[in-house]
Symmetry: C2
Subunit: 217 residues, 2 copies
């Protein structure tokens, strides 16, 4: 399979973890979001939305949107399962994913940061406050779920790695990058650490990607 | 079942359509997002994130996040199915959902509109440009998928009503409300019209809700 992604894309990070967990080999095609390679006409033929990731399977099927890709991988390669068996528990896992994937991540992606600074004319400091506000609000909601609804264990849903962990880990990594204090989110931190002890997560981290910049190593 | 929602919440609209399609009776509990009732301590016990919708099932299970609720309803009440049978087609439907639910809707919800005007100090006109920009970008991506990937029919995925339609219809309704021109999105408009001819969609529209304001009728 070919994964069109970028080292710092949180959405591509989620898919890399899933492919690793499922034991599926994949070739990374780096799409530099800072240079705007996601808008190259050739890439737009693969993903007309001009975002990463896109996964092209061995039979030539193109999949887009990280959550749709995670669900696909879980359906086509059922082991290890990334969702629990019980319907209500599955809904809880997917709800955690959606807080991370819909209510947090889309507010801090490059296109939004560019609009806030260039189109709306805000300073880097004001952009930082924007990022901090939405990241904090999201993590507060996640932490309450993890701390209060009696489901979390080693991972977000008991001792099974689920899609919720695949979505949480990149977002915590980004919070660290954005220098957001995490003291108020002990469960998030604990689960991040547990996950990063697993090779499927550790090997998928941005720093381990072939397109991670030399000067940042 | 009890659905905590609000007449103008696009996410609650999605869930109302699903419940109607599945033939499940539900009681609406209005949660006024403008008055801030989503932050009432009693509601935060139901949904610690302080957003709608939340669905409380007859056995007392609380579900949050509209996409997680749609998947739950489709698993627990399989007929009529809201996803196609084929894994790649399911991934396409979910990808369309995610463009609408993650890349469009979270950018125009009340909390964002409030931050843009109150915290960042922008005018209603600048807010309108913000809403127009992200709505347009999202609809362009959806329209390209519908027009070019050979899957759309009466609805987003052939002639089967799927989750993609449940996510598209509220977003088109909102675009009309925000006075965004839709001429460039003929497939979106066509599918919106086809869906609104179905009672499950029509009866779920904001204007038909018990908490729709008298003065707007």
């Amino acid at each position: 399979m070919k994964l069109f992604g970028y080292w710092r894309s949180l959405a591509a990070f989620r898919v890399r973890i899933a492919l690793n967990l499922k034991g599926q080999a994949f070739e990374v095609v780096s799409t530099d979001l800072i240079k705007g390679e996601q808008f190259d006409p050739e890439y737009l033929k693969i993903n007309p939305q001009g975002v990463v990731p896109a996964l092209v399977t061995d039979d030539g099927t193109t999949l887009t949107q990280s959550m749709a890709i995670l669900e696909y991988l879980d359906e086509v390669y059922p082991e290890p399962a990334l969702l629990p068996a019980d319907a209500a528990a599955r809904a809880r896992v997917r709800a955690l994913c959606m807080i991370l994937v819909a209510d947090m991540h889309p507010l801090v992606v490059p296109r939004i940061r560019k609009y806030v600074t260039q189109d709306l004319g805000h300073s880097e400091e004001e952009l930082g406050a924007w990022i901090g506000n939405w990241t904090t609000k999201g993590l507060e909601a996640i932490e309450k779920h993890l701390a209060e609804d009696g489901h979390s264990g080693t991972y977000c849903e008991g001792d099974q790695v689920t899609m919720a962990d695949l979505c949480l880990v990149p977002q915590i990594g980004a919070a660290v990058l954005f220098k957001i204090p995490l003291d108020a989110y002990p469960n998030c931190q604990r689960i991040f650490k547990s996950c990063m002890e697993l090779p499927a997560f550790f090997d998928a981290r941005p720093q381990a990607q072939p397109d991670f910049p030399e000067e940042m190593k």
